[in-house]
């Protein structure tokens, strides 16, 4: 399959079952909502080292948020519910409670069969040292914790659902500059898709990994088959003209969301085309043995 001169590999991305949650963060203005959201989702690129993968889903207008102030919605994913709950609580406490003017609300509501309620501000309230008060509006409990800038308002719980993490694709280009330009275009397009995040810096990861290493203690190491500087000395997956490879990793609430985001991203990258230095689109997998989901690129782009 070739789109605008770009070869789409006959391969698939392999993704995993994860647990996901959404939090709506509001503040005095979008500037501070973004600061809070960026802080909360900082150091959350990969579950391997960070515990969770998190990112900003989208900006929300004042008319869309529970308290009628400008907001940002964030998504957070982990391999298990215990880690997700722990990380959510820590990040809420250190990044949202501390951030001027912010408030936090549940971003996922639904029936108990598919949505598990997990603590959002339930334990943060004790920061109030007895001066905290709760209010029940339309069946939802909120906590008001007195803080130095006024009052920190948070919903007691948010919803956790089964989600999918690890969708991905690789952009192979003739130069680093062109690979990055294609990635930027792809991420921009994918940010328009709801229910997904691209957790790596700017949505892009340059250090794709393979399983295992020559060093016994490492469980993963550089994906040498896709390293352009090793073309001549390793079993490479790259053709001579490829000088740079970058990857976009996608976590989403459902596999359909990841499919949509993958399609939007690849389409945007391919728009730069062969003339823009974009040569090939590939994907990362483990031979289909580890993940519960497979996203076949050609099927998605068909």
């Amino acid at each position: 399959m070739i789109i605008n001169g770009v070869l789409i590999d006959d391969t698939f991305a392999e993704a995993f079952n994860m647990r996901g949650t959404r939090v709506i963060i509001t503040a005095q203005n979008h500037k501070w909502a973004h600061i809070a959201a960026a802080t909360m989702t900082g150091f959350a690129t990969s579950v391997i080292g960070c515990g969770v993968e998190a990112g900003i889903e989208r900006e929300m207008d004042a008319s869309e948020t529970p308290d009628g102030r400008p907001g940002v919605s964030i998504l957070m994913f982990a391999m298990g519910s215990a880690v997700l709950m722990k990380q959510l609580e820590t990040r809420m406490g250190q990044c949202i409670l501390t951030c001027p003017t912010t408030a936090a609300f549940s971003g996922i509501d639904g029936d108990a069969e598919t949505v598990t309620r997990i603590n959002l501000g339930k334990n943060l309230r004790f920061f109030g040292d007895g001066f905290q008060t709760s209010k029940l509006f339309n069946g939802k409990r909120y906590w008001r914790v007195p803080v130095m800038d006024g009052e920190f308002l948070t919903e007691e719980t948010t919803g956790m659902v089964r989600a999918v993490g690890g969708g991905n694709f690789l952009i192979l280009a003739e130069s680093q500059m062109q690979a990055l330009a294609a990635c930027e275009a792809a991420v921009e397009a994918m940010r328009q898709v709801p229910n997904v995040i691209m957790p790596f810096p700017g949505g892009v990861v340059r250090s794709g990994s393979k399983v295992g290493s020559k060093y016994k203690t490492l469980i993963a190491s550089t994906n040498d088959a896709f390293c352009p500087t090793l073309k001549g000395i390793t079993r490479t997956d790259l053709s001579p003209e490829i000088e740079s490879v970058m990857e976009i990793v996608i976590d989403g609430l459902t596999d359909a969301d990841i499919r949509k985001a993958t399609r939007a991203g690849i389409a945007a990258a391919c728009e730069l085309g062969a003339s823009g230095g974009i040569k090939r689109i590939s994907a990362g997998n483990y031979g289909g043995k580890l993940g519960q989901f497979q996203f076949h690129l050609r099927e998605i782009m068909a």
């Binding site: 308290d67 009628g68 209010k135 909120y142 009052e151």
Partner: protein
């Protein structure tokens, strides 16, 4: 199906206990059985059809017509359906009601919405003392649901209230929100002396300045984001409170004689 209507046809000499006449109690009963329902009146028991003309058949929607201030316990313990009362009601209107809607087009006596746990009580008129309060001997008052009073309330409104929303569009008497445990009380008109006397937690919304007793203390002016959520939750109510939007308030805290975690929010 038309509403099951009870039209008062006698002038009760003594108070009549109307608690058996709720959608729950009458569900599935035949017209004959409904007519034979016994109502306590003083030391006598009266058949419902000797007190009321009974018409209609939808027992999930009950109407009292030509109602009188000696009809007590209307809508007590109700859990579903609706009751509409035309005329006055006696004491204990909506006592410990759990769900459904109860509306009164007239005035009610003391202890309306006492110990209420859920549902909506809408009084188009005035109410007596202890609305949303606790029965004498009980340690908790209203613990859920919404009460709207378009007129005035007597003394001790929301006494020992535990949860829920009590909205008074007119004036409230003395000791409003006395011993309040939690919940929300709003009074659009004036309040009598000693508002929030002995309150421990909870929120009182006031719209007219008043003098507070000494253990209610000034906490300054604040813009409180939680009010946006509160206003949103009010917005669907058939009340003047549905149109609130100002979240800048003058906060008073107290009652310091009883833990002092309650708040009185005075709107400018």
């Amino acid at each position: 199906m038309s509403a099951l209507a009870f039209t008062l046809k006698i002038k009760p000499a003594q108070r009549v206990d109307c608690s058996p006449l709720t959608p729950d109690m009458l569900a599935g009963k035949s017209a004959k059985d409904i007519g034979a329902t016994l109502l306590q009146c003083g030391k006598q028991q009266l058949r419902a059809d000797s007190v009321f003309d009974i018409s209609g058949e939808n027992s999930n929607h009950i109407e009292f017509r030509n109602s009188h201030h000696k009809l007590d316990y209307i809508g007590a313990h109700m859990q579903q359906g609706s009751i509409v009362v035309h005329g006055d009601a006696g004491s204990y209107l909506g006592l410990q009601m759990k769900n459904g809607s109860l509306s009164l087009h007239g005035n009610a006596d003391a202890y309306a919405a006492c110990g209420m746990a859920g549902g909506l009580l809408h009084v188009h008129g005035n109410v007596g003392d202890f609305i949303g309060g606790a029965l004498p001997g009980d340690r908790k008052g209203m613990r859920g649901g919404t009460v709207i009073v378009t007129g005035n309330a007597g003394d001790r409104a929301g006494d020992q209230m535990r949860r829920g929303v009590l909205l008074i569009e007119g004036n409230a008497g003395e000791y409003c929100a006395s011993r309040m445990i939690a919940g929300t009380i709003g009074v659009m008109g004036s309040v009598g002396k000693y508002v929030g006397f002995g309150m421990r937690h909870g929120t009182i919304l006031l719209f007219k300045p008043t003098d507070f007793h000494t253990t209610i203390q000034d906490c300054g002016h604040h813009t409180l984001p939680f009010l946006n959520l509160m206003f949103k939750s009010f917005s669907s109510l058939p009340s003047k409170f549905a149109h609130l939007s100002q979240n800048r308030v003058h906060k008073f805290g107290g009652d310091l004689a009883n833990d002092g975690k309650g708040e009185i929010l005075l709107f400018p």
